[in-house]
Symmetry: D2
Subunit: 319 residues, 4 copies
Amino acid sequence: MKLEASASGVYPIAPTPFHADGRVDVQSIDRLCDFYVESGCTGMTVLGVLGEAPKLDAQEALDVAFRFIKRAPSLPTIVGVSAPGFAAMRSLARAAMDAGAAGVMIAPPNTLRTDDQIVSYYSQAADAIGADVPFCIQDYPLNFSVVMTPLVLKRIITDNPSCVMLKHEDWPGLEKISTLRKWQAAGELRHVSILCGNNGLFLDFEMERGADGAMTGYAFADMLVDTVRLSKAGRRDEAHDLFDAHLPLLRYEQQPGLGLNARKYILMRRGLLSSHALRAPGGSLSAAAVEEIEYLLARVARFDKRAACPPLADKARSA
Amino acid sequence: MKLEASASGVYPIAPTPFHADGRVDVQSIDRLCDFYVESGCTGMTVLGVLGEAPKLDAQEALDVAFRFIKRAPSLPTIVGVSAPGFAAMRSLARAAMDAGAAGVMIAPPNTLRTDDQIVSYYSQAADAIGADVPFCIQDYPLNFSVVMTPLVLKRIITDNPSCVMLKHEDWPGLEKISTLRKWQAAGELRHVSILCGNNGLFLDFEMERGADGAMTGYAFADMLVDTVRLSKAGRRDEAHDLFDAHLPLLRYEQQPGLGLNARKYILMRRGLLSSHALRAPGGSLSAAAVEEIEYLLARVARFDKRAACPPLADKARSA
Amino acid sequence: MKLEASASGVYPIAPTPFHADGRVDVQSIDRLCDFYVESGCTGMTVLGVLGEAPKLDAQEALDVAFRFIKRAPSLPTIVGVSAPGFAAMRSLARAAMDAGAAGVMIAPPNTLRTDDQIVSYYSQAADAIGADVPFCIQDYPLNFSVVMTPLVLKRIITDNPSCVMLKHEDWPGLEKISTLRKWQAAGELRHVSILCGNNGLFLDFEMERGADGAMTGYAFADMLVDTVRLSKAGRRDEAHDLFDAHLPLLRYEQQPGLGLNARKYILMRRGLLSSHALRAPGGSLSAAAVEEIEYLLARVARFDKRAACPPLADKARSA
Amino acid sequence: MKLEASASGVYPIAPTPFHADGRVDVQSIDRLCDFYVESGCTGMTVLGVLGEAPKLDAQEALDVAFRFIKRAPSLPTIVGVSAPGFAAMRSLARAAMDAGAAGVMIAPPNTLRTDDQIVSYYSQAADAIGADVPFCIQDYPLNFSVVMTPLVLKRIITDNPSCVMLKHEDWPGLEKISTLRKWQAAGELRHVSILCGNNGLFLDFEMERGADGAMTGYAFADMLVDTVRLSKAGRRDEAHDLFDAHLPLLRYEQQPGLGLNARKYILMRRGLLSSHALRAPGGSLSAAAVEEIEYLLARVARFDKRAACPPLADKARSA
């Protein structure tokens, strides 16, 4: 099952669950997988930046990827293979595909500046991993400081047949989606899947501009699935009603750094993770932040019952 | 009337209104001033980055500042004086104070890296403008790439008695406010006013962490005033209800670049600006973006009638 | 006398001389001008970054430019007009041309990333200053973090007839010169003058690759003139012998920040400046640095007598 | 044999030799090692950025390091272990030490900004690799965009007993060395070894300011050894005479990107490498660049016979 340009729906960015002592928590991996399947997700992405991939050593990374893939065989899995060099990228990509991955995701190193540098980088990366490995471009200027114009994306897509997906997380990015879809409609660009990241902050309008779905880690993947479904069905107001109910919390979870702590905390509160621990180095939530998240969860729950969590035991609060 | 460390409430970042042909629109300046006063704003800020200050020549900049100051004498006005050199900064700061400004705002040049470089820069800037000119630090890493730790802010505040205010727009930034207020409570730091920027994206919680108000340009300054007021009065749920109703639109307006087009469009729709034109170079809103803003306004209006705008004439739509 | 694409030779980057108390030192301006003329320079550039332009207020900047222009009427003078906005850029450019400047130099703001952003910026700048004002592109990635490919330069040159010169200071940059000259030879690009900066660190080979001369502030403009002359005359070994004799000192002067202190110190030792003072904020030379420069001057003087300075009075040493 | 704070002399940055087809060239590794020993080097550094470490996969990297270590058992070897995450850093560091390395070198990720971020990073890295692994700080702002003040270095050295060396390659950096040595002389900082990088561009003066030697990859490690020796012996003029004779070539080799091609070409011309190939992706030298290097070699050879290379076979020229 290889990743295809027709992919759509929701590919959650899976966190890597850890126990409080830093060990990988495999039971929580299984629970996450089951949740993704039950929620109607159509794929998943592992070992991304917010999957704490850089904190895993090479063997652990493969073990984690393999556990996800094996538990949810119905979901095509994308493995993040961004690396400081092409040799490491190739090793990880080949191993991931051997383990059953559907494709890989490649982010640009933050030293790239010119259009040609970016285009060359993706050609070299595509060569390195092999033409048989489908890949997804990660376009996230806010994080990587690499700015890709629509034309640069067009060149990468045109130059590399194995490029089948764009993880769109430019900000602002609505016009970029419209431009790519316009070129495609005019026959100037082949279709690739566009899934939206940046924690889904503009998912409501991105869908309306032509995106195929979401690839992000917001703790309510089930909400993302519903928003995408409602939007595709043309039920605009309902899509926005649901999205807007979550937006205050989604915004809170989108904060750099701290956001991953919040996300894991919410996933723990939803019963999916045993612990909200990050592997070191990683910050922790202050008591004030925990209270704010609880308050936001309670507010979301007025509209979406899935946000209603059981009362917070004192023990859990301090976990 | 000089800016004081006890300042609080809402200091909107005033846009500079232009006619479609690029001339400054002084009637719209007057309307904005009247609106700020009527809305309960407690001050205002002119010639900031989102006031298109760099597009004004020196004389125009002073004329614009003077017009704002003269029309709203009851509002202490802060003038942005960030400049590539201290000579120009001094010239503008002295001229602004002579014209009746209450204080100035200084952003760091994006070449600063180390803690000491940042601290030195503000000492030199304070010397350059003169000890009699109260100033506000603009802490906006997302825009300036300069990261100020709480300790750096403490050093700047301690070293420079004329520093009376922090425009807080770090992201994430809630813990920074808590840290500064904790130091202040412990007597380790004198009080300065903390007003929040970054389009108010976290204003709801920033108030609860100890901020004194907002300094941002969201097109509904009147909503900011109400949110600040409700929060200070301890009416937490009401503050969040109002804030959350606006959040989908506020988020839309916060987009870099495009956001200023959206803001001016909304201000035009509210009858405050004659035109939503930016002075060149400046982008414009696509038809899709206009439709999205209109949709968001209509949704906000379900909760807050102030967002109900008159039907859109075809002419205005294409202005 | 307007700047033309046929310009060649040496356009020194003139420092702005200050007295120790911070006042502009006009007598030293006159001495510098006379020295440039006597040395065989073919033009000069004022108000660049290393001319401490940002430390001058608007009136001072014009006064300085005018003094240079008036004293050396035989030298076409380029005025740096880089500014945070096009309004200020236009004001300074028009005023400079009115005062007798031959053209202006424009550096890109360090926020530009993509090829299109850079090309657009120069088109907007050319529009802002007016089509009648010849301009020079400053291509200095080390300082501005903006990387211009040869193709981007080609687009700027092709789009803007008033672009007549490239201040080349990319690093490495030899292949860039070769590429531009190859396109020109093939009739794919019109000729523009290429003058080399970056303190002349590669001037020896840049001339051999097709540059027309130097635009840099090394304290021995007379050496630059000779190196350019020898290289153009095909006297390769002599050009390198002279250049290499200066290279240890030239390298020392090229250090960011500190380099300008060293340059002014050497110019003072050569009798051209009354003081090596920088206007605040600016560092100073340590005793160790002064000793190192004196040592290097003495070593250069073994080959080039122009580096032989009179014995150092104790007073001057501590100036 | 563990790396100690008393280390001095020359630790060349060893390139990784490749055959033209991309395979690691182990015979050339052996030749390099023998050359380093015969030249009087006192250690060596492998798998640095200019050792093309990111192009090696994990097993290759260890094989390369092991080959160097085994061939030159008398030289303490430092292994570069900079990595995007602490897990990979730890794995490589432990494996390197097991293979006989004397210590490791750690560069900061280019996302660090504030003083505290840098200090924390090194504490976390020291914890990750283990307190028994001596490490060297790589302070190279030009490459990593991370600026470490002397005070930050002092904090890192003081906080981490396993920090025994600073690879100094700040630019400018002479005053930094003086400051650290002054603190040490005053008993405020323990001694660590300071070896100089940045291709040795300021090695002449860095030694005089208190550096212990060089850690850089200039193709004439034997010249570096002599310069360090002469400088330490107080034979100042001789040290500068030798250094200055090489400076034109050394400067050429210091160019980012292209410099490594030049370095490998010179090492090939000296008979140490079989090929000057870089593993893909890596540029190549133009015919003009080859001619320039040959010209510079011939010029250096007038002073230093070690630069006299055998006539260039046509075959080698195009290798």
